[in-house]
């Protein structure tokens, strides 16, 4: 790997769509950077502003709520 700092991304993924898609991506042996941290939520409605802010607070460079 290069010396470039890796951006840390936290992904809040809906259990029914985005998380299933990530699962499928895994099944298809598709690769995404290990710096993307997937957190499964039952529904993107579950994602609280506090969760997003807490991620930034602990050093995440970006947060994505996918669903």
């Amino acid at each position: 790997m290069t010396d470039q700092p890796t951006l840390q991304i936290v992904a809040f993924c809906c259990h029914y769509c985005a998380y299933a898609a990530a699962d499928l991506a895994g099944g298809l042996r598709l690769q995404y950077p290990p710096s993307v941290k997937v957190i499964e939520v039952p529904c993107t409605g579950k994602v609280d502003v506090l969760h997003l802010l807490r991620a930034f607070e602990h050093g995440a460079d970006g947060v994505i709520a996918a669903g």
Partner: protein, 286 residues
């Protein structure tokens, strides 16, 4: 015999069973009296599966098939106690006048009259044709999205009796899954209100997509005042929307507690000791 007859303004869909019934009747007439002339005016013959044999059999016995189009439908005119049918033959491109002793119409099968009111009562979806709509065409044809309600037969769409029986067996099987149990296990992912933090602001009542939370006066809220929200665990669908919306953060979704979602976020990014929710729940710590 005229196929695909529907009252003006009625939705246009295939009733699936009429072509086969028409052919069955035509063959029966020819069997009883081979001299009887049977003409079928049709738009499209739908004799699916092995019913195609009825079509071959009807042609073999001399039933005449004439196709018509939506633009040039047949017209039936009474004439001194008999009926004259005017129709344009598409292959000859010539108008025909058929004198008939009997004109048999194949009307479209309409949904039962109470379908719409029953659907409203049980909050069930209807198809554009006015029949009940299943949860999934291929995977769950006997289910609704709503738990505990099942459908079969002609409530779904026009079907032959053997199709209705198969469908009914599937629906009965689904119902037995519920009825055969002494107790029902609901999913563990349900929202729970902490009454000591709840001010009864109604936010959850208004945001819940399923309308489950209620304010109950017998459950004192914050400071022992007023009522607090109550979410019936057997009804909660576990989407967690109320937990995110609650201004007092008084609602937690079991198995997705705030601490379970936030802890993985707090993992040591640089060394990759990020934990999944499941790992954290099983006791692993960053």
């Amino acid at each position: 015999m005229i196929q695909c007859v529907r009252p003006p303004g009625a939705p246009d869909y295939c009733s699936r069973t009429c072509c086969t019934n028409t052919l069955k009747n035509a063959i029966r007439l020819k069997m009883l009296n081979p001299q009887c002339q049977v003409i079928v005016l049709y738009k499209n013959i739908v004799t699916y599966g092995f019913r195609e044999q009825f079509y071959t059999e009807a042609r073999r016995r001399g039933v005449i098939f004439m196709r018509y189009t939506e633009e040039q439908p047949p017209r039936v005119v009474p004439d001194n106690g008999r009926l004259r049918v005017h129709v344009t033959d598409l292959s000859l491109k010539r108008p025909f006048e058929l004198v008939a002793d009997r004109v048999v119409l194949s009307m479209s099968i309409a949904p039962a009259e109470e379908t719409a009111s029953l659907a409203r009562l049980l909050q069930l979806p209807l198809s554009p044709e006015g029949f009940f709509m299943e949860a999934h065409l291929k995977m769950r044809p006997m289910d609704f999205m709503q738990e505990g309600v099942f459908l079969c037969g002609m409530a779904h769409y026009p079907k032959f009796i053997e199709e209705s029986i198969s469908h009914a067996l599937a629906a009965a099987g689904r119902a037995l899954q519920v009825l055969s149990r002494e107790t029902l296990h609901v999913g563990g992912v349900v929202a729970v209100v902490d009454p000591e933090q709840c001010v009864g602001c109604l936010t959850c009542v208004r945001t819940c997509p399923f309308g489950i939370p209620t304010i109950r006066n017998d459950r004192p809220g914050v400071g022992g005042l007023g009522g607090s929200a109550y979410i019936e665990p057997s009804l909660c669908q576990g989407c967690g929307t109320c937990t995110a919306e609650c201004p007092a953060n008084a609602i937690q979704l079991l198995n997705y507690l705030d601490v379970q979602i936030v802890q993985p976020v707090q993992g040591d990014w640089a060394h990759g000791s990020h934990l999944t929710r499941r790992q954290w729940s099983l006791g692993a710590r960053p």
